[in-house]
């Protein structure tokens, strides 16, 4: 059973002119087996929501709560959140020079499981995951994200999703920068994850095109730091046709 509950979340970032509120009361519940899409214009706070859930030090939580299966997520450190079952596929994955992908994956898997993976099956699992995401096995010896193309970085994120097997995955614009083939490969990866028992997905995106491959159960329109409207997948079609103008005007009032 996995359930991520976000209640009235308020988040600020520090700026030169003092703290600036980015999230202005986000409330969202993702139950097991559900996929929620969050769509919203640039700068509306989507990545802020993703990073805040993951615990990025840049963001300050000023109100509200986040729980995973009843456990207070916000009191956990970044790595504890991951070990509790949260995963964030980042919009801009970070390069870590000199640390090989295979060493990184093994270290992460060991940390999350609390024990080192069995060598023989692990090598097979890693190679399988890389292959399914159309990444050459030679990626294992390359430094994490260093010199990866934009699309390779995103596919590497989804390979990690498959291997680390969290309870809830937050995918921040995993579709951006992908060509159509890569988009399909990434979507298939996410769908394989969704087929597993009891997984939740929070899919942040700009565009509706990924929703053709990953069908959401719910769509939320995110504007100015909060959810402006929620609905089923038909809401995505409406957004495709009309854009965000209506919501932006409403937010300005």
């Amino acid at each position: 059973m996995s359930k991520l509950v976000i209640t009235d979340l308020h988040v600020t970032v520090d700026t030169e002119d003092g703290p600036k509120e980015i999230l202005k009361g986000v409330t969202l519940t993702i139950k097991e087996g559900e996929t929620h899409a969050i769509m919203g214009p640039n700068g509306s706070g989507k990545s802020t929501l993703a990073y805040s859930i993951a615990g990025h030090p840049k963001y300050t939580i000023t109100g509200g709560s986040v729980t995973l299966d009843g456990q207070d997520v916000l009191s956990l450190s970044v790595d504890e959140r991951a070990r509790a079952g949260l995963f964030l596929a980042m919009q801009y994955p970070v390069e870590v020079p000199g640390v090989s992908v295979s060493n990184f994956l093994r270290t992460a898997k060991t940390a999350i499981d609390g024990e080192a993976p069995k060598l023989r099956t692990w090598v097979k699992d890693v190679n399988g995951a890389l292959e399914r995401l159309n990444l050459d096995p030679s990626f294992g010896t390359r430094s994490v994200n260093e010199g990866f193309s934009g699309g390779e970085k995103k596919r590497h994120e989804i390979a990690q999703l498959e291997l680390l097997d969290p309870k809830v995955a937050v995918l921040d614009e995993t579709d951006s920068g992908l060509d159509i083939d890569a988009l399909k490969i990434v979507s298939e990866g996410v769908n394989r994850f969704r087929e597993r028992e009891g997984k939740g997905v929070l899919l942040i995106t700009h565009y509706t095109r990924i929703l053709r491959y990953i069908e959401p159960d719910y769509v939320h329109v995110f504007v100015d730091g909060k959810v402006a409207e929620s609905g089923g997948k038909e809401l995505a079609d409406q957004l495709e046709a009309e854009g965000y103008d209506r919501y932006l005007k409403a937010a300005q009032v």
Binding site: A54, G55, H56, P57, K58, S77, V78, D79, R81, A82, R83, F87, L88, M90, P93, V94, E95, V96, P97, G98, V99, S100, S102, N103, F104, R106, T107, A108, T110, A111, I112, A116, V123, G140, T141, S143, V144, Q160, L164
Partner: protein
């Protein structure tokens, strides 16, 4: 690596040409000790070095009977022995070195013997020549001279392995014959109280390949000048450095690639980590491209990773170009703390903060360790980096099981 902390002075802000002292790059050398004054510490080449802690090595400390044992292996085809008298004298200046410090002039003039490593022309030495220098008494101030002569088209690796406690001034002269392929590794794995002042001077022959790796972990004060000149066109020098300074340690590395011939190359990469109160590192990278040195290529880089508060890393690249006809010249210098984004990324995958820091530090050094290219040294360096990390970063970290060498 973007942050430059307040405790860190980076020379980049000054620009490469600022603060250039003519006499620094063109020191007036002399074999006559009387021509060199005792340094006061205000001189450009001494301004970072805490002279008080040198126990007089820079001045007139007596060069006593050595308390540092010196042993070595002798692979086939190589002559290694301590020589004295005329033969020792004939080896002084083998590298083209004309001393520009009082201490180096004293070493050449006063030290009675020389350790000669002689590799004949066309000899390919199958295993590394390892010279172990193990200090037994830090109260003994002493000096040594090493001469390495590599014949034309020879191929060899020499490792100078410094351990124990010494107070020692050493001049190492290296002559790399035409077309030879030579690696010299100097490992400063001293005990905490050692004082080590050294000058490595290499002359690189026509079309020869020279790699020098300076690796400094231990010692109270370690200062090494690693210099190179070229005997003819086509020579290539790779100057590598890796250092790890703990609380109170002063580790200073200076390089000088003096492009004295056309179409020569120099490539320098020095990387250091600092941890603990008053850990101080200095890197000064001098490159001079003389008028004759057309078509050369040079790149030098120094990166420092500051692991705790209270450390200081000084980093000064200094590139002087006297001809416009060059292939390429560049430098980079950066000093930074842990990159928060890297740590966040690793932690977001479940890896603890300490484990993440350790991955980042290993990653920082990994490429360089591989570039040293001596397998027996590689393993030892990985272990030493790990041991250094255990002092601060990994304090209290229980399981190290997840980290292994790369598959």
């Amino acid at each position: 690596m973007t942050v430059t902390t307040d405790s860190v002075r980076s020379a980049l802000e000054q620009g490469p040409e600022h603060g250039k002292v003519e006499s620094h790059l063109h020191p007036a050398g002399s074999f006559d000790v009387a021509d060199h004054e005792v340094p006061t510490g205000r001189e450009e080449i001494w301004r970072f070095t805490p002279l008080k802690r040198l126990k007089g090595l820079h001045a007139d400390a007596e060069f006593m009977r050595s308390a540092t044992s010196c042993t070595w292996n002798t692979p086939e085809g190589v002559r290694i022995e301590g020589v004295s008298g005329d033969e020792a004298r004939s080896l002084r200046g083998l590298s083209g070195l004309v001393p520009n410090t009082r201490w180096a002039a004293r070493v050449l003039a006063e030290v009675p013997s020389t350790l000669l490593i002689d590799v004949p022309a066309d000899t390919e030495v199958s295993e590394p020549i390892v010279v172990d220098l193990d200090g037994e008494d830090v109260a003994v101030t002493e000096a040594g001279h090493v001469a390495m002569r590599f014949g034309a088209h020879s191929k060899a690796i020499v490792v100078l392995n410094h351990t124990g406690s010494s107070t020692i001034a050493a001049v190492v002269e290296i002559a790399v014959g035409d077309g030879a392929d030579v690696t010299v590794v100097s490992l400063q794995d001293w005990a905490d109280d050692a004082v080590h002042l050294s000058h490595h001077q290499a002359r690189v022959g026509r079309d020869a390949t020279y790699k020098h790796a300076a690796i400094s972990f231990g010692g109270d004060l370690v200062r090494m000048d690693a210099n190179v000149t070229y005997d003819g066109p086509g020579g290539s020098a790779e100057l590598l450095g890796l250092y790890f300074a703990d609380a109170g340690q002063h580790i200073e590395h200076r390089i000088f690639a003096d492009h004295t011939a056309p179409r020569t190359k120099s490539h320098a990469v020095y990387k250091g980590a600092l941890q603990g109160e008053k850990a101080h590192t200095v890197w000064v990278g001098n490159v001079l491209i003389r008028k004759v040195a057309e078509g050369i290529e040079t790149y030098e880089e120094n990166r420092n990773l500051v692991l705790t508060d209270g450390c200081q890393a000084d980093s000064i690249p200094n590139l002087e170009i006297e001809t416009g006809e060059i292939e390429g010249a560049g430098h980079a210098s950066a000093t930074a703390r842990f990159d928060d984004e890297q740590l966040f990324y690793l932690q977001s995958r479940g890896v603890s903060e300490q484990e993440a820091q350790r991955l980042v530090v290993h990653g920082f050094f990994n490429d360089l360790i591989r570039q040293v290219g001596v397998p027996s040294i590689e393993d030892r360096l990985l272990t030493t980096v790990e041991a250094e990390l255990a002092k601060n970063v990994l304090k209290g970290l229980g399981s190290l099981a997840a980290f292994g060498s790369d598959d």
